[in-house]
Structure formats: structure tokens, C-alpha cells
Point group: C2
Chain length 374, copies 2
Amino acid sequence: MLRTFDMGDWIWLSRTLGEEKAVNSQNKSFNIACPAPTADTGYIKLGHGSGGRMTEQLIEQAFLPALSNKILAEKEDASVVPLTADRLAFTTDSYVVSPIIFPGGDIGSLSVHGTVNDLCMRGAKPLYLSAAFIMEEGLCRARLETVVNSMRDACVESGIQLVTADTKVVNKGCADELFITTSGIGIIERQFVPSVSSAEEGDVVICSGDIGRHGMAIMAARAGLDLENTIESDSAPLNIMVDRLAEIGVSLHVLRDVTRGGLAGVLNEIAQASQVGIEIEELQIGVVDQVRAACEILGLDPLYVACEGRLVAIVKAVDEAIALEILRNSPHGQNAKTIGRVVAEHPERVVMRSRVGGRRIVDKLSGEQLPRIC
Amino acid sequence: MLRTFDMGDWIWLSRTLGEEKAVNSQNKSFNIACPAPTADTGYIKLGHGSGGRMTEQLIEQAFLPALSNKILAEKEDASVVPLTADRLAFTTDSYVVSPIIFPGGDIGSLSVHGTVNDLCMRGAKPLYLSAAFIMEEGLCRARLETVVNSMRDACVESGIQLVTADTKVVNKGCADELFITTSGIGIIERQFVPSVSSAEEGDVVICSGDIGRHGMAIMAARAGLDLENTIESDSAPLNIMVDRLAEIGVSLHVLRDVTRGGLAGVLNEIAQASQVGIEIEELQIGVVDQVRAACEILGLDPLYVACEGRLVAIVKAVDEAIALEILRNSPHGQNAKTIGRVVAEHPERVVMRSRVGGRRIVDKLSGEQLPRIC
């Protein structure tokens, strides 16, 4: 590390092909710039983040074959896209999940689903995506390509278009394989925008499926849990089901995807922002057996475990039947259920009626239950 | 680390206040979830990334006081913003600069300037910004707040509004203090959009100031170079000067900010994309003495060193005088100069006439000259 020398120390400086070395008066040698290897070794090197020829080659070989479209291929500083709406939705999320590839998905599909879902939770139609990659020196190219290909598939399924991207490389040990930050733009074509603060007394609380799969898939993969059946992440885009709900005119007071903080976190946010109470029924909340088993082994409560392909919809009671029918006929919504209702009592509190009939407050989690699950 | 046990191993599991421990049959104890410390120690902990109460507190204490506005304070999954244009510019960049605070700026101001500049290089008016923070466990809160405050100042100077954000925390050693990814949306109100592929024979090449300060400021700070005068980064927003150029009707064929790859990188990209030759004059390219000295010590060529507040404008020759006058009267443009011209000869090549009259090809850099300068 170059830290405390001053000019007087320097006696020799050489520039060899692609590698710069300096020797100080103690005859210790330092690298002052990174080697610029010419051979492709199958791993990411610092030179791939230079903005020079190696960056260009990496983008052309690892990113563009999977992701290219007319706009992205222009390689401009900013992409110019058409838009016809007077309001848009804009969102961003960083993904730091570990491991980056897990049963049911990887950091690539996750980063697309997460942003698509955040957009459609505001009633927006997802249109344009940006992706910024922070790669650790030494990242395996084959793993990067798996991730990039699954981003492409996720973009195709959800109908969003990746239009602008960035790549950075940091020294080995300064990141953990790969972080991806996606931002998304969607257009809002309808008058009413669902909001976390729009739940009303009498509304029903619908969840689009069983909970906890994503978090437990990651946790089981990370811990090497030897379960009878592998838990697959529920990571999925939710925009198609939201589109169908909105088209038919369901009163979507609140839409929220169940991510960090789990179902309990989401319901608490809604109760607080809308100044209402929420009552849920434990028996109506779907948790598949493997998830329940893994949670029991690890001492976790499924209510706090993240999903990445489930939503909570809070709708007028009169719309309950039609909303459930639409959800159950949509991809990723087969097991939708009404799990509770919005009440005037205990504002800002979520209360659960348990299997055995008792009632308990479902509080927000204070710290971290599962780190780096998204 | 929990890796290879199976269910049978487990004999004891306790949940103590905020910390979960498991003991296996070999009587080894593991943490299965992160501690959820209640006291504020002045450093970031994993629990701050949970999406629970600690995340909420961190956002309210460290981010919202500096950055809050009506839209951000809604704390929705995606922000809804008004927009009146039929085209917009969209861009993203991750910032991984080390050190995160340096003479003349920090990763916060840099991440705003970089995205504002990418937008205005397409002739767009920067409107909305997103910011995603990846924080390393143990990050000093005071340093985070310095960065966040300087983001606010940079937003104010450039007139962009931060409307959506995300925070993640990764384990100590899995990131390097702080990475920030910003994305930006701008509206395009004019018919002609500058593009890297629009340089034409006969155009003049203008650079808005001296080059290399940002890269050498970072490098000198990192290496602890003991220079007579500290080199300050040139990091700055360029949208005001671009606005003025466009308003007066200067023919902006190409606008490009000089970042990774330096002036040589940018000019090579333009020559390639526009299928033209570019000739530059070494004598016209501003390099301040400290930057030249630091470059000589470290064996670097200023032509390849990044700036973060300089642009190259390629305009019709008839507009040269007015463009220079506007730039020199704009903030951050006092030292604007014509540095060369676009020629029909040697397409895709940049050629420099040196101080002593010789001519040499200025090629693109292959690997990394200075890692992690942005």
C-alpha cells in the first residue's frame, strides 16, 4: 500500500507492459497502477473497470449479447427514451444478496423483479430499467453471465426494457462478488395511485400467496441446510396481476410487495401510514411445510421472513371476490387468500388471531432477522 | 459460519435479547441471526439494513434531515413525479471512490455531479434523482452524514431533486465503507440531442477547463503524496453551462463529460462513434502545475486521468467564439479553450501535435490507470 512516502523517497520508477512499479529508497517495490492483463482468464480484473478497452470488451462480451437493445447499444452517457404520460413512478434498490445464485433465482432476476414490483405497487406500468454493477475483482465470468442472462429473462417476462447501465470493478475483498443496483421508470395512466397511506376501515387484506420462501431459500442455501425438499425462492414479477386487478376496476387502496421485514413489516407500515388497525388470521396465512420446518430449525418467525414475489392488496370489501378470482388466475397468484381486514380499533397496530384463538400484537422487527437476503 | 450441519445436529437453540445462538452436538455455538443492538454507537450495524425499526431510525436521523422533500418523505416503494415532455433522458452510475472523502468533494457530491452531468450531456434538464446506499457494517455515522449533507448541497446547486432512495448494509469486509449508486431522469425539451456519434468534419473541439484534477486529487489522497499544494477535485455540475450554450443556440453536435478514461478516452469514443479523425494541440490542453507534478511522480499521463467537472463540446466552427465566451462566463468554465478540431483524415483516430511540434496517436487505454477514482 502506498501511504506515507514523500517525493524524496522515490528513486526508481518503471513502466513495464501493463504494469507500473515504483521502488522507494528502502528498495521496496509498490504497484502504482493495476496490471492490464491481455489474456481473458475467465475472471474479472480491476482493468475491466477502467473505462478503457477492457471495459469495452467486457461489456461487449458479457453484457450486450444478453441485454442489448437499440437504446442500450447506443452506449451514450444517458439514454433518451420516449414517454407519453404526465406522471411517472421512479424507484431504486441495491441488491446485495448472498449467495448471488440460489434455488429459484439469482441476484440478476431478483434485481429486475424487485424494481418491477416497486413500480407496479404504485399502479405504474414498468417501462425502463437501469442497472449498475459493482463487481469484485476475481468474480467468475461464468457466474456473471448466468446472472446477466437471468436479468434478460426477467426483463422479457415483465416487459421492462433495460436502457442504461454502468459497470465498476473494486479490489478483491472490497465487495462480495457482485452487487447490482437497479432503478426503474413506469408510467401512471390511471387517476388513482395506490398508496401505503390509503387503507380504510372495512377494507380486506389479501395476500397473493404463501410467505417466507425467498428468505428461507437464501438462508437454507447459505447455511447448507440439508432439507428433504429444496426451498425455491418466490422471486417473480407482480405487474401482470396488478394490471389485471386495475383493468377490471378493483379498488386498490394499498398495494405493497412483501420484502425486507416480511409480512409483519409491510402490515405495520400500512397500519402506521394509514392510521388504522389491521387484524389478521394466522390460519389464513400460507406457509409451506419446508419453510415452516426451516424457520423452526433456525428459530425464525415466517411473518418476518422476506418474499420477493408476493403482494399485499388492501381493497374495498365489495371487491374481495373478484380480486381473489383475478389473482388466482394470474401467474404467481394461484394461492391468493384473504388474510385479514382493516379495523378502526388499535390504530397503528397489527393484531393476529392465532391458530388456537388467542390474539397477539405483531410488532415490527427491530434489527436484522436475516441479513443480505435481497 | 453455518454450513454443513443437518437437523440431527441441533440440540439447543436459545433466543436471547437481540441475539440468536444455536449450539450443535459438538457443543459449538453459532450466531444464526445478527445482534440487534439498541444503543446508538455512532457506527452502522447490520441491523440498520433490516427494513425494520433500526433502518427506519437511521433513515430518519441520518438521511431525511439533509435530503427530505415532500416526495421523498412519503416513503413509498416508488415515487410518483409529474412530467411534461415526450422524451426523457435516463442514466445510472455506481460510485465506489476510495477514499470516500477527498479534497474538493466526497462520494456524495460526486454521485450527484456525475449523474447530473450524464443527463445534461444529452441536452436534458436534470429533474429527478434516485440514490441507493450500500453501507459496510462499521461505517462511521459522522462520515455518512458528511456525505449525505454534501449530496444535499450538490442537489441544490444543480437543481435536481432526490425523490427515491434505498439503503443496504453488508457485513464488515464485504464492501469498502460506502458505495452509492445514483440514477437520474431529465427532460429533453429541444429537438436536437447531442450524441457521441454526431461530430462532423470541420467542427471545433472545446474543453471546459484544465484536466486531471479529480483523478490526481484521489490518487494523491490515497497515496499520501506530500505535495506543496493540495490538489482539489474538479467535481462539479455542468448543467448550467450546457443550458446557456443551448439557450443561445450553439450547435452542440457532441457533449461529453471527461470521466473514466480521461480526455483521451472521451475523444477516442467520439472519433470511433462519429467515424471521424480528431486532432488536438498539446499546448492548448490545460494541466495545472500540481497535477502535472503528481502525474510525473506517479508515471501517469494527464490525458488519461479522470475529471468530474469538465466537458468536451464539439460545435460548428462558426459557433466557436460564442461558445467559448459563454463557457468562460459560467461557473466551472473559466478556463475553457479550443483544444482541437474534427478532421476527415485518420478516421477513428485521435492525433496530438505535441509541444515540440511532433505528432503522435493518442490511443485508448487498455486496462486500468487509476482504480476506484469514481
